[in-house]
Every structure is written in structure tokens, then in C-alpha cells.
Symmetry: C2
Subunit: 380 residues, 2 copies
């Protein structure tokens, strides 16, 4: 890459025309980049002290790929590293702060760039050129088909976002849903939507932590919450599933994951998702093994998440001026960096998206094949 310093001095690799470049606006920024690039690049970029040429996504992809071939920055498996980056270990109180930090910054903001159902998790694109709206509904149907929802069943959802999946399940599959979330603004929005759609009798939104789930259910589902739970609490979440799932029940956990245990970048943890950690499949097993849950099906939708983030970034940039009415320029640049980083990490395979279907070990009413997954449900 090309690097241009504050005094217009330029460093360019010999014998090549770099596709991307970085303008460093001050000596102190260069100093910070040299001491702790993973933390300071983000903050200095957001403050406008770094400008990127050639597009942020391409720039980040170039950086990540070159990090992978540099021994100092190469990703290494370090199962306890996430703890050093997360002094708060996702206790109920800390979880609330962490979730508030990201999700309670205004529903209007998310409405500017998410799909109309406000799904803030990986979509499922039946074809790569499907629209985001189509792909988010397809994701909900994929989850419902994997769980083989039948009318009259009861479902508990851990981490329900703005409530779309619970409403989709109740409205299209005839189930009753109890949905938990600790984001106050999301719960308020979800309740309002349930009332507006006349589904408040079949969907109950509870403003509480997953650890507070009570009752007994045919189905457990959690889409995009495990990233916020933290490996130290997977067994605790498993015990919640174990106490609330009926004998013949099915469960599904959908979450961002990794091939090896590495912490998120310090900037990402500080500014975007405090307490966040995408587990490896091995780490996820702490959820299942203590109760001998059977893993029935794992699907990795990594490239679908890269595409989802591309849609989000495009919509975000399209609505940049309206975001600017709500937040300052630093916020906008932080979110552009975050969404661009996600596109790159899912594209190059640093991040995965796992959908894991499971049951109790002796449940023989599990699906015989996957044939029910490929046909749309005929439930009204």
C-alpha cells in the first residue's frame, strides 16, 4: 500500500502501483499506529487523522491478508485471550451495560440501514443476488424449518432483537413465543409491533437476561446472542436450555464464530461490541456436552454474512446524511469501519457464521433427512 505522511512525504512499495493507500495526518498518529495499531487505527481513523484511499473495504482486506502472512500479526489460537480484553466477564449487570452500549442508541438509527423487519443478524440469500429484505425473511424461514415448527408449539427465544423472528414464528408457523432481551429500546419496539400486528396474545416479550428464562418449551432458539454471552457463561446458558427444553424438543443457536480462538480487536471491543466474542465450534460444545445434547446439524453461512454486511454498509452510506443528523462524524466513521471490517473478516474467513441445531440425546423424533429444509413450509 501507499502511505502518505502529514508532510506529503510518501512511502510506496518499489515496482508496484498499490491499489490502496493511507494518509496519516500527524506525527502522533504515526506514533500511535506503531505502538498499538489494532487499537489506535480505529480511533485515529474515526477522528479523521487517517484517510484511506482506494476504499476502506479493499484497504482492510489488504491489511488483513498481509497480517496473515506476517508472523507478528498472524492469528494464533489463544483460548484465554478474550478474558484479558474483557475485564468484565458478561455478568448480568455487565451484560446490560454492554448491550445498552450497542443496541440502545436509537431504533431510528437502525431503521435507516437494516431491512424492514429490523433483523440485525446474518441473512440467508437463496441466491447471491436476492434482496436483503428477501434474504432476511428466508433466514427466518430457514430457522423455522430447521426447528420443524408445528402449530401450537411453544418457543422460547433468547436475545430477540427487535422481535421480528418471534412475530414471524407466531404469525407464519402458529406457535406461541416467549422472547427475552435486555435491550430496553428493542423490547419497547417489539412490544409495540406485536400490538400493531395483533400478535400480543401469542408473543410475549420479556425484558430480562437469558439466565432468567423460566418455563418449559418445545423449542429453544437464539439468533445472534451467543456472541454477547462469553465462553465463561456457555455452560450457564446450556443449563438454561436444559431446564427449559422438553424431552422431544429441538434447539437452534445461530452465532458468529471463528475457526480458532482469538480475541476481537481491542478497538472493536472498546468502541463497538464490549464483551463480544465469537466462539469456535469447540468452545460452543460447552453449551451441549454437560447435558449430552446431540448436535444434529451445523451450517456455516460465512459468505451470507459478508453479503449481509455489504447490504448494510451500502444502506448506511446511502443514508449517511440522515445518520449525520443523529450522530457526529466520528460515529459515522466508526460504523463504516466496523461494517467494512465485518465484510472483510467474513470474506477472508477470519469469522464464520454457525447455525447449530440440537436435541436431547434420546430424542428420536429428530428429522430423518434434510428434505424438509429445501421446500418452503406449507404452514399458513
Amino acid at each position: 500500500m501507499r502511505v502518505v505522511l502529514w508532510n506529503e512525504e510518501e512511502v510506496t512499495p518499489p515496482n508496484s502501483i498499490p491499489a490502496v493507500g493511507m494518509r496519516i495526518r500527524s506525527r502522533s498518529t504515526l506514533w500511535r499506529l506503531l505502538t498499538n495499531p489494532l487499537l489506535h487505527f480505529g480511533d485515529d481513523y474515526c477522528a479523521g487523522r487517517i484517510e484511506i484511499e482506494g476504499g476502506l473495504v479493499l484497504f482492510l482486506e489488504t491489511v488483513y491478508r498481509s497480517m496473515a502472512s506476517t508472523s507478528h500479526f498472524r492469528r494464533r489460537s489463544d483460548p484465554l485471550a478474550y478474558r484479558r480484553n474483557q475485564p468484565n466477564l458478561n455478568s448480568p449487570a455487565e451484560s446490560q451495560k454492554n448491550i445498552h452500549h450497542h443496541y440502545d442508541i436509537g431504533n431510528e438509527f437502525y431503521q435507516l440501514w437494516l431491512d424492514r423487519e429490523l433483523l440485525y443478524t446474518c441473512a440467508y440469500f437463496p441466491h447471491p443476488d436476492a434482496s436483503l429484505e428477501v434474504a432476511q425473511v428466508a433466514k427466518m424461514d430457514l430457522v423455522c424449518r430447521k426447528l420443524r415448527l408445528r402449530p401450537g408449539q411453544s418457543v422460547v427465544e433468547a436475545g430477540c432483537g427487535w422481535g421480528a423472528l418471534a412475530l414471524h414464528m407466531a404469525g407464519h408457523y402458529g406457535v406461541r413465543v416467549k422472547a427475552y432481551n435486555i435491550s430496553r429500546q428493542q423490547i419497547a419496539y417489539a412490544r409495540e409491533r406485536a400490538r400493531a400486528e395483533g400478535l400480543e396474545g401469542r408473543v410475549e416479550y420479556v425484558e430480562d437476561d437469558y439466565r432468567a428464562i423460566t418455563g418449559s418449551y418445545d423449542v429453544f432458539v437464539s439468533v445472534g446472542m451467543l456472541e454477547h454471552v462469553g465462553p465463561d457463561h456457555y455452560q450457564e446458558l446450556g443449563s438454561v436450555v436444559n431446564r427449559c427444553l422438553v424431552q422431544d424438543g429441538l434447539g437452534l443457536i445461530h452465532c458468529i464464530g471463528q475457526n480458532i480462538s482469538t480475541p476481537m480487536s481491542p478497538w472493536f471491543l472498546k468502541r463497538i461490541f464490549p464483551g463480544g466474542y465469537p466462539p469456535t465450534l469447540r468452545e460452543m460444545m460447552a453449551l451441549f456436552e454437560p447435558w449430552e445434547f446431540s448436535v444434529l446439524d451445523v451450517e456455516n453461512l460465512r459468505l451470507h454474512y459478508a453479503k449481509t454486511c455489504e447490504h448494510w454498509l451500502e444502506r448506511f452510506e446511502h443514508n449517511r446524511e440522515r445518520v449525520r443528523d443523529m450522530f457526529d462524524e466520528c460515529f459515522i466513521r466508526a460504523w463504516q469501519l466496523y461494517l467494512s471490517g465485518c465484510i472483510v473478516n467474513f470474506t477472508i474467513g477470519n469469522l464464520q457464521l454457525y447455525q447449530v441445531l440440537f436435541s436431547r440425546p434420546s430424542n428420536n423424533r429428530i428429522p430423518w433427512t434434510r428434505s424438509h429444509l429445501s421446500v418452503p413450509s406449507d404452514v399458513p
Copy 2:
């Protein structure tokens, strides 16, 4: 259950008519059962010192279910227990002895009760009432579709049994296959079959250990070998995959597994599969994590293996007299016990069957959805 002793003394649970019973022929057998039932039940059953009433499968199911509710016998996760049961740790030399013990006892024997392709691994029943012949071909096609085989590709197979999958891949999907196996009798049979079918130019059978695999391949496949590898060698197998798989390659491992780490029964390890161990998904990750392989798809075919074993046992018993011409009564009873035990363990969920599809982390030519799995391949 009803227990009848050598002197016709009878122990029956009060207020119930037990569906199954056990006749213990001698005092010493009872003594052995009390001291180490997991080892001695098998040997005493095989020697005819124990007779079962009500059917061996139902009897074993009753025993296993009651063990699950008895704290002394309840399965517990014990990740190192397999080592205590396997003093030989699946080194190349020990592997050869282990494999010889089970597989080199006469191809004619296996021809009596396996399907016509001689597939000695879990079949895939499109419908539960499909025949074993149909289900074994369907399994091969499922594996080939998951691997998205394309004409001209090169495939390496680790543990090829009697060679059917390699021939199916070459004959129906137009690929070249190099297939490894350390069972001398299986390799001899496979080579003969390749010659007979005119496929010896496209399928090469190598009598050698997976550790000896050389070359570079588009596809790595291993169906039913990992059970014989041992957890201490998963990383070694992963390094073989890493050195032989091309950048855009796909790999598939199909193996018996468990929800928690427990050793096989000592009788099973001594008499049936020395060195055998069915891994948990967590343990399998040792194959993938050191090279950051991405797990793309996991399918659990547990109930398909229960049904496969039902077919095998039925055929075995149908051909009992012909087996009797080859082996003694003790051998027959051992194999009935083994196959019955497998039926029960897959039925009640003590054993799983995992098919794991994987790729390198940055391979973006992975399948977009699973739509290619549900339609039969149109490759000639």
C-alpha cells in the same frame, strides 16, 4: 428384567412382568458379572454361559437405559479414559494389528451380510423403508454431492474399505481417486474389483497408513476411518490433510461419534475393535483448528446407523449357518452382541454419526447453499 440362575432360582422384579430376561448358567458367571459386568457379560454371553430371553436388542436396550438412570453406571465425560483402555495408542504398527484383527478375517464373511458394494459404514436411507442396497448407494452420492465432485478432479481417500466409494466416485463423477487402507484383504479385493470394472486407470489403491499419504488433491475424503485413529492422532491426520489439500479443496470426514467423551466398553475394545474410539465434535476439532480449517457442514445420521445395523444383523442372522461354516459359535454370538449393541447405542443416543464437511478458511468457492444436496447429481 427376569434373572434365572443355574439352579433355576429366579429373581423377578415385584409387580411387573419383565419383557426380557437373562439365564446365568453358573455361579462363576454371576461372580464375574458382579465384578466387571462390562467386560465379562460379553465373554460369558459368547461362551453360552449367559442366555438372553426376549431378544438381545431389547435386552441390551433395557440394560443401557437402566444404566443411564443408575449413578454408578451413568456415562460421564472422561476425556482421557480411552487411553486407559488402549495401551497401544494407534501408532502405525499398532493400527495395523488393530485393523487386521477386525477386517482381515475373510472377505467372504463380510459378503454374507453387508450390501453388495461391501460398504461397512453408515448408510443413508432417503426413506426409512429404503433397502440397504439403495441406502448405501445414496450414502455415496450424498458424500459426493457434499464434496461437489466435478469431472477431472483428484480425490484422496483415507481408509477405503473394500473400495466401493472410490469406484463410485471415479465411475459416476469422473474423478481420479487414490485410496489408502492398511487392511491387506480389503485392498486385494478393491484392486480386483477395479480391474474387473475397468477403472484401474482412474482408481489407485495403496496399501498404506493415512500418515503415508503424499501428493496434492482437490478433495480429501474419509468414511469410517477416524474411529480407528485415536484422539492422540487427530492433529497428525489434520496435518496430512493440510499438506495434501489444494487451496480451493473440500474435505469430508464421516465417523461414529459421541456427545461426551467416554471409552468404549472393555469387551468391545478387547474383542471387536481394539484401538477404537468414537470422538466428540469437540475432540474432532483437533483435526481442524491447527490449520484453521472451516467447518462448513455437520450432519448427524445417528438414526440411519441404527437402521443400517438392523439390516446387518438381520442379514447376519439370515446367514447364520453359512457363518457357522467359517467360524465357531462363540464368534457368531460375539458378532450378534456387537451388532445388537450398535443398534441400541445408536437408537438411544449413546453413539452419533457425524459427517463433517470442511475447507481452508479463505476458500470462497464453497457451496453457497445446500440446494445441490437435495437433487441427484446429473454427472453421468
